[in-house]
Amino acid sequence: MSATVTDGVLAGGSDIVGTRMLRREDPALLSGEARFVDDLVVPGALHMAVVRSPYAHARVASVDLSAALAMPGVLAAFSGADLSGEWASPMPCAWPVTSDMQSPAHYPLATSEVCYVGDAVAVVVAASSSEAQDAAGAVAVSYEELPAAVDLEDAAGDRVLAHTGSPSNRAYTWELIPDADAVERAFATAAVTISERYVQQRLIPAAMETRGVCVVPQPFGGEFTVYSSTQIPHILRTMLGMTVGVPEGRIRVVAPSVGGGFGSKLDVYAEELLCLALARRLRRPVRWKEERTEAALATIQGRGQVQEIDLAADEHGRLLAVRVRLLADMGAYLQLVTPGVPLLGAFLYHGVYDVPAYSFTCTGVFTNKTPTDAYRGAGRPEATYAIERAIETLARRIGSDPAEVRRRNFIGRDRFPYASVAGLVFDSGNYDAALDAALELAGYDELRAEQARRRAEGDPKLLGIGLSSYVEMCGLAPSRVLASLNYVAGGWEAATVRMLPTGKVQVVTGASPHGQGHVTSWSMIIADKLGVAPDDVDVLHSDTAVSPMGLDTYGSRSLSVGGTAIALAADRVVEKAKLLAAYRLEVAPEDLDLAGGEFSVRGSPSRSIALGTLAFEAFTAHDLPEGMEPNLEASATFDPTNFTFPFGTHVAVVEVDTETGRVDLTRYFAVDDCGNQINPLIVEGQVHGGIAQGVGQALWEAAEYDEAGNPLTTTFADYLVPAATELPSFTLAHTVTPSPSNPLGVKGIGEAGTIASTPAVVNAVIDAMAHLGVTEIEMPATPERVWRSLRAAAHRTTEGAR
């Protein structure tokens, strides 16, 4: 896209952009006025309940619905076989990463084989949700249990097949090895090599609102309104059309208020297809609300990798090569972008460091567990974790301060745009500045002194200091790059800006906010562009009837792609208004300046006309210049030519109680650079939540399974999400390095906190105990694990002394 923003929002004259405006979304959310799917009152709606497999792997011998059908309130019940005629195609996977990728057909209801605990086998439809659930309990399914592939590494060896009849558990192997010989040479000659193995445990996204769907048929027109708690109304509409065989144009998808997603609602789920198919079949509205325990089974999970990373370095710790081998747990089926998640990190395993040789291999493996897919950061937290853990191991190996080893390897600020060994072009950056700022903010030298003091005094509470310098690629994504990665869609975003006759502004966006604050940010951009108050801007979104074109919200893309589209559309409105103003004021358009919502003639500012007046005149169309169409309205679609590359350095400080193994995160410092900031308050909010979520992986969260594949963490008493009581107050600061990838100069901030914080915290935990010989700890770093590591290290020391 070649258009440039003429009145760059941030280039002078911005009154609103850059201020800490309170979020316009919040009053409705805080007062309970916001309406989520389950709040919608739909007369006559039937409630669906799903019968799920209690086995990780089993053959379905028979499904007997008779008892369920006899239960009070039940209208219908169906097995997988009953509904097999409803599907035009299997559930979609939009990212066939390799041409030989294996993807077992996945239908909303299993017919002959269930492949994870939670796999759906039947549905019951009743007048109320409690009747539907009671009846679901009465469906008699007879299973013949099969051996289950549970452990990722074991599954990779094909000892047990996750799908009977498939040749192997391998979904694909994807490589990025620009120069194999260079990597070989580097490892053969390096002064220092290290090899590490890390486990990325599975995580449950745990959005505050679980999923929910309500499909309302319009009996006469054959149309369907699909209300879904989704991040992707546009993609969902297309996919529903393709899989349920309803012409896409007859499907309207509405995402009402959505209580968080974190990637888990960037998917197309069985229940969405089922409600649509049942509404079509029964000619009644059909709704389903996910229970919390159900969400632990039936909503995608994040992470799930075993990572092997090797570093080659010279004696000063300067990196010569990075080599990575991943096993990625796909779970039982490939969901919308499951296979692509590791690829989003594939280019970033060298992190913020200038590395000449690089090798990345990933094998996606099926297991009999809940499918995985994108979860906040998707691939990039995993990559950042691996390199940021490994760089600290390298620092310990050569006896250097971890901050110093980082500095020695940083891509220098004079190297941007930087063509990386993995084939990306990092848009802009100043990694030294972020590190310096973070160390200063944290009082790094004093922290090290305090750490030394505690060690010297034999304090049972040790201090650990962990760093993490990160870069991520976001703003998904340039359509051409997505094509090169075999993703089946593009990465543009669409917008329309419309001035109403009263001078109010309507903005239509293809982004689909679910907590990010787009309404606030978009209206701030428009307020500066058009000289109106933010409250005079209405942002329409998340309804395909109102916003027909869009690619939705994920991958920290909405501002850099969708926000840019908004700015471009606003510029087009201004351009047109300027022509009309020139006509009214009888001057050349070049002689007009726009300020505060008014065009005035340069040199004689008393000759002016307000944009609002022009909007009314364009609406009445009584007197327009020759050839000008009525109304002030313009659309724009922005397709970036590059990703954006936010970066920063985080510092975590922990206390480790050596007697109990307890880890307390006592202080946390973050310096992030997301380019220009539209609203620093929203930036901080995103960083806060992101850090909390990343710390969750480091210290508390894990989706656990037993050896038979039974999930063990299906309630919030077992799956531990940190609360405010577990977290210190974060100290934040920012550097600002605008992105050249888009005219707003913005990068993303939605995922940065999660990407940076996990390694910072784990590095801190290890840093606290490294002098005792602890060099590895599995996540989450539970008290018991820490205690065991300390005990094992002490044991090694005594053995060694013997």
């Binding site: 409690s130 508390w700 009581t725």
Partner: protein
């Protein structure tokens, strides 16, 4: 998360509740604060046919000074025990422990009677009443009877309260000497992985130490108590904290780790209690 269907009755008095219990003791459950029972029902781990709500039975919520002991009504909420002046002055361990239960929502709904009658070894208040040597007053069709805390906790989710009985009052002897409560959990709102309620005699001749989550029921650390009685110091007494106990292994901790934690936490509790905390 939707319970199986049940019949709901709201009792206006203890007698009415007992009358309904007598009709079908095994199919009927008393409902107090609901914070243990309702989660079980939502997960369909409990499916009572009849729920008798005693939440509005009058005169069962109080904390009063009864001379040598403090009397607490079974329906007293954790929060009311936490902030009661009488409890704070006379049985400070109990009010402190009440303030460590769950989170504020839980403390404003859950009742001491419900917590004790539930008989969950992971709960905090049972350890406090055990360490304090409280007496529990149980009422049934034949009147009331007193049960010593030592005889009250019988097994996992099993207490001395019979299916046709109800816990009505807790008598807690006024505490002298030092006390401490150590709760080790992963997040502030969680149940204890291991907890310790300790009361040490003012003259230093011994004490009572009760443990949370160190067995199938709330238990006393007999080994530690014996050691204390024979004059052992905190560390030596604490080393025997898990003697004879069989703590559970679960997602949050192995039995081995629980044994270790018990020794650390008991030592800390004894040190804190003997340091003369008011």
């Amino acid at each position: 998360m939707i319970p199986a269907s049940f019949e709901y009755r709201r009792a206006g008095s203890v007698d009415e509740a007992l009358g309904w219990l007598a009709e079908d003791p095994d199919g009927t459950k008393l409902l107090a604060g609901g914070h243990s029972l309702l989660p079980l029902m939502k997960l369909r781990l409990a499916t009572p046919a009849v729920l008798v709500d005693i939440g509005r039975v009058p005169d069962l919520s109080y904390v009063t000074d009864a001379g040598d002991h403090v009397a607490i009504g079974a329906l007293t909420r954790h929060r009311d025990v936490e902030v009661s002046d009488v409890a704070r002055a006379e049985v400070p361990l109990l009010s402190h422990v009440a303030g460590q239960v769950g989170d504020p929502q839980v403390r404003h709904r859950g009742t001491i009677g419900g917590s004790l009658a539930h008989g969950d070894p992971a709960s905090d208040l049972p350890a406090a009443v055990l360490a304090l040597g409280a007496t529990l007053v149980v009422q049934g069709p034949g009147g009331t009877r007193d049960v010593a805390a030592d005889d009250f906790f019988r097994g996992f989710l099993e207490t001395a309260v019979g299916p046709d009985e109800m816990l009505v009052e807790i008598k807690v002897p006024k505490a002298r000497g030092g006390w401490a409560f150590q709760k080790f959990n992963r997040r502030a709102q969680d149940w204890a992985i291991v907890g310790v309620a300790a009361v040490v005699d003012a003259n230093g001749s011994g004490g009572r130490v009760a443990l949370v989550n160190m067995g199938s029921t709330t238990v006393r650390a007999r080994g530690t108590e014996e050691a204390l009685a024979s004059g052992a110091d905190a560390a030596d007494a604490a080393a025997r904290a898990a003697d004879g106990l069989e703590p559970p292994s679960d997602l949050h901790a192995s039995a081995e780790y629980r044994r270790h934690l018990a020794t650390v936490l008991v030592r800390r509790a004894i040190e804190e209690a003997t340091a003369g905390r008011a």
